[in-house]
Assembly symmetry: C2
Homo-oligomer: 624 residues x 2
């Protein structure tokens, strides 16, 4: 080579990778992009080789991307080491999967979005997703960042960087896998990743403000509204279209996604009526009932009037509009002009303007996208994206807690029932009265002291109530003896707990706990008690520790929150006390690295105060 290369891409077989790397470093390369696969993701020997390679690169003062990656691209400098053309734009893309990265590129192109930089990080032997994320935050032309990550490394550090991206006005959208054992198996083979529990990823998003999506298409759908020139300040959406079916369907979908389609004022409805045919609906949704076919400028008039009324935070145009430009040259000109003036009218009034159209690839649709207007082919995709913005307004990022103290040697925590109760009570969590017993006479004595009705629990099983190890509503000594003998015979339990029966009917039972994730550390979670949270997938999560104030936010974000807050005239339950308990539990577990998992289920929330009715603790095993 005539001069030293700045960057060398290595795409040789694994068995000659080392030699190629040496050549590149010797030639003076400052950056290595290693496409080569079959190293760290293959076996221990490959991992060793990969680590050594990273060491050598660092020792040479260079940087390594990959191996097992698809390359990098920077559309600002026309660098493209991937195998597809990449449309320039303002989205930064970091992907641990080459093909998923390419799928995003394909989908983005259809949506009129382009990329500033694409970094396929592969096995992350040297440069990892977190460093790439930081680089994109510092990169001027990048306005939004998308991530496909399997292995988060130091998850807390990663989340902290993501949190600073949001603060810099660059939304971060995250796609990951590992929600199921099936995908976790693959990830390990794919990039050597040990994936995080899906709950931990959710917590990282709740704390850092990353938007989590489930598919590449959802990612692109969401990016469209995140990059739009206006952000709504509330949930109110106005719907307009030329056709009753479309506007009605849009209303159903928007409301299903948590948005509001509020009835317009008499004044606005009257002004709309005055310019539309008598069969039009003007209260929101607005069906202009053929007025667009008669004069295409009517679309603009309607959108302008709504935008200026202040009666909606966002305006959705749905249905046929966009398709005129496919009919004739004349129509093309007039529809594109109307599209432009409509978008300006909405933006000038500070309103987000979004379009769903039957003709998403038409000249007008492409024109709208160039103006920054999100355009969707699927009404539910539009509704889902708008719903995410609205959810974020209600549930903002909680913030990533300061780094946790490093593990210090501590007395081993007990995992037995009474030991756990004691520790948690000391930590500030109120428990109901309970006494350990191992014989029938002791049980009767305990029950007399506590006062009937009592509850008898067989100890020794982690999930007492599911195993039939809890007998409620024991009214007297005879019932107590019967229950004792029955459980003793059936469960072979040697130790029991006699407890005061709590006024279950007067409160609501929550589950709260902390689970330690290998990447993200301790995760606080709260939901409805028993198995309800799991059954209905209604769990609020965040990095532990959480403050009491954050705890209130988490509980309020549950669908089940309505049970606590009360409806109509019913008195609300003590949400603050529940949040205090969550904060105490999360502090307790966050400060003790040896606690792998701790759970209170149920925590009974009453009109005043809370009562923990059961607790269990799992110590971290010696094996990591």
């Amino acid at each position: 080579m005539p001069e030293a290369p700045e960057l060398v891409a290595i795409a040789v077989r694994a068995d000659v990778f080392e030699a190629a790397l040496d050549d590149a470093l010797r030639a003076g390369a400052r950056a290595i992009v290693a496409i080569t696969a079959g190293l760290g993701e293959r076996d221990q020997a490959g991992l060793t080789l990969q680590r050594a390679a990273a060491e050598r690169v660092r020792a040479a003062g260079a940087v390594l991307v990959g191996p097992n990656c698809l390359g990098v691209a920077d559309t600002g400098t026309e660098l493209n080491l991937t195998w597809d053309a990449i449309q320039p734009g303002s989205v930064g893309l970091i992907s641990q999967s080459g093909n998923l990265g390419l799928e995003l590129v394909q989908l983005a192109q259809a949506a009129g979005l382009g990329f500033s930089r694409f970094i396929s990080v592969g096995n992350q032997a040297d440069l990892d997703a977190a460093e790439s994320l930081q680089a994109l935050i510092d990169h001027g032309p990048t306005r939004a960042i998308t991530l496909y990550v399997e292995d988060f490394g130091d998850g807390r550090a990663f989340a902290s960087i993501a949190g600073s991206a949001a603060a810099a006005g660059k939304p971060v959208v995250l796609l990951t896998i590992g929600a199921t054992a099936a995908s976790a198996r693959v990830a390990h083979s794919h990039t050597g990743a040990l994936v995080s529990d899906s709950v931990a990823v959710d917590a990282a998003c709740r704390s850092s403000g990353m938007y989590r999506v489930q598919t590449p298409l959802q990612m692109i759908d969401l990016l469209q509204v995140l990059l739009a020139p206006r952000r709504p300040n509330g949930r109110r959406v106005a719907i307009a279209g030329d056709g009753g079916g479309h506007v009605a369907l849009a209303a159903d979908r928007l409301i299903a996604r948590g948005l509001q389609v509020e009835t317009f004022s008499d004044q606005l409805a009257a002004r709309l009526s005055s310019m539309l045919p008598p069969t039009a609906t003007t209260r929101n949704p607005v069906d202009i009932a053929g007025a667009g076919e008669e004069d295409i400028v009517n679309f603009e008039r309607v959108v302008r009037l709504i935008a200026q009324s202040g009666e909606a935070d966002a305006i959705l145009l749905t249905g046929y509009f966009g398709g005129y430009s496919e009919q004739s040259e004349d129509y093309r000109r007039s529809e594109m002009e109307v599209a432009g003036t409509m978008a300006s009218a909405a933006h000038d009034a500070g309103r987000l303007f979004v379009v769903h159209t039957m003709y998403p690839a038409s000249p007008t649709s492409q024109h709208l996208r160039r103006l920054g207007v999100p355009v969707y082919a699927d009404i539910d995709a539009a509704a889902r994206a708008l719903g995410r913005l609205a959810d974020r307004m209600v549930n903002p990022a909680l913030g990533v807690p300061a780094p946790l103290p490093s593990p210090t040697p501590s007395a081993t925590v007990p995992t037995d029932y009474f030991g756990t109760r004691h520790l948690l009570a000391v930590a500030g969590i109120p428990f109901g009265e309970a006494r350990p017993v191992e014989s029938e006479p002791a049980a009767i004595e305990a029950a007399s002291a506590i006062g009937y009705p009592v509850v008898l629990k067989a100890l020794g099983s982690l999930h007492k109530s599911e195993a039939g190890g809890v007998r409620l509503a024991i009214a007297g000594a005879d019932q107590l003896i019967e229950a004792f003998r029955e459980m003793h015979a059936r469960l072979h339990a040697a130790a029991f707990s006699v407890e005061k029966e709590a006024p279950l009917a007067l409160g609501v039972e929550l589950l709260m706990g902390v689970k330690r994730d290998r990447h993200f550390g301790p995760i606080a979670l709260v939901g409805l008690g028993g198995i309800h949270a799991e059954l209905f997938s209604d769990l609020a999560v965040a990095f532990a520790p959480v403050s009491a104030g954050q705890g209130v936010g988490l509980i309020r974000s549950l669908r089940a929150a309505e049970l606590l807050i009360g409806r109509r005239d019913a008195r609300p339950l003590d949400l603050e006390a529940a949040a205090d308990a969550l904060a105490a539990l999360s502090r307790f577990a966050a400060a003790r690295p040896e606690v792998d998992e701790v759970e209170i289920n149920p925590l009974l929330v009453l009109e005043r105060g809370v009562l923990a009715l059961d607790a269990r603790l799992v110590r971290q095993s010696a094996e990591p």
Copy 2:
């Protein structure tokens, strides 16, 4: 005209519609397609005119489609009175919205699906959706039927016809609106429709076997698998692809949609391993890890092996495949050939074969669609469609009950609490002990007779517990007096009920009821008690009356069913008794047209038997 026209399309203004209709009938037209809008959907005068027009058409022995419609098409006879080209195919389409019909045509084309007939029924003055549905069932070339309907007319008759379509092997997919007040407002203006409650539409689907979808795109996504040459016999899906990210993501989405991605046997995994690189995963999902790039025939080998193994009911190929055909002429030939042999291998083994690809418009993707293989651009769309097939296996159509007896004059049903309890108890629903009281001494006497603890309810409010009109766990006379006075003062209640406290902690509370819909008649519903069913959108519904056997099916289809059936060693609750109560309640309400709504909330389900703890009844008002 040289001879009498068989069909006349009328597209004149509303004020000259009548004259044009007369001309057409005079000329001998046997069918009128009325595009004209501004009649029945506009005002009373228009409705009168529209009705008269329908009468005249019928009197002339002719048939009327519309008015306010977009026309009809029959691709078998090259009749097309719509304003778009329609791809021929096997889907019959009935739509009350012209534009939504056109959107379906657009989306279907992208998915490689075509239409046999398109009937835009508009205001349904003469020919309605039900008759059109019957016509499509009888129409040989139609293999599946899609409906967009706002007004179901006689909903039971409609559902019966839909039920017979399923029996004829023609799946029916339904899109409708009216889930929200906002869309109901529009429907009334749009086609004059008074929409049904969304719950009633769900019941019609559960009873008749129609598939309900939420958007046009979901409709097309589902049609693809419904029209595929093989139907899976179980939930097990095998996933294959050349890329870990894609196959892992597919696993997460499929499992989220209720499918199973089971680990392959050692034998199958070993056979796959022997033909794939060492970095491949072979346990399901299968990541062939570059083997496809090395030799594209490896895709076929893998799919064939899986199909023949019998270890999956359906096979999903995900990711890059489909894109080779865009690279070069050589690749195009080989990829299309592999696509064909792969599809044959799966079909020959009786397995459904489905593809998700980054290149949904490529030559190979189009080729696959021509072979009947569903091809998706969005992995979640594929997962959702497969999930619907799996759900149907578990929850088959319940059948549409025989026509209900026509309303006969009957003694007016009482709507007060004790009157309702009495009627329902006679109907076979077990209630806990309760006594009406209006004074403190009477309350104390009642409580003594019943035995403490008791519950005190203030009567007169429909939603007692939400209004704070229920006091639980009253242990003695002092507490009873205090509760009586407090409720008397706060709620101004004059009448109370003293009731035996039920063992709430030992059971699970359900809600069950029957609601009368203007089109579909009485609808039976069941879910978790309190407001849980609503909060978590977990309600099972069907046409009333339901049998006890159907009641079991409904309760089992709830996500909440797990609470009743029990987990691990816990004993199951008396699901049969709950189903008996639902059957009794549904028979009661179905037989009494004057009952607009009746609800038991909660019904406590215990290990043995059930106890209704509250009931309310709403009589139909005189106004329809």
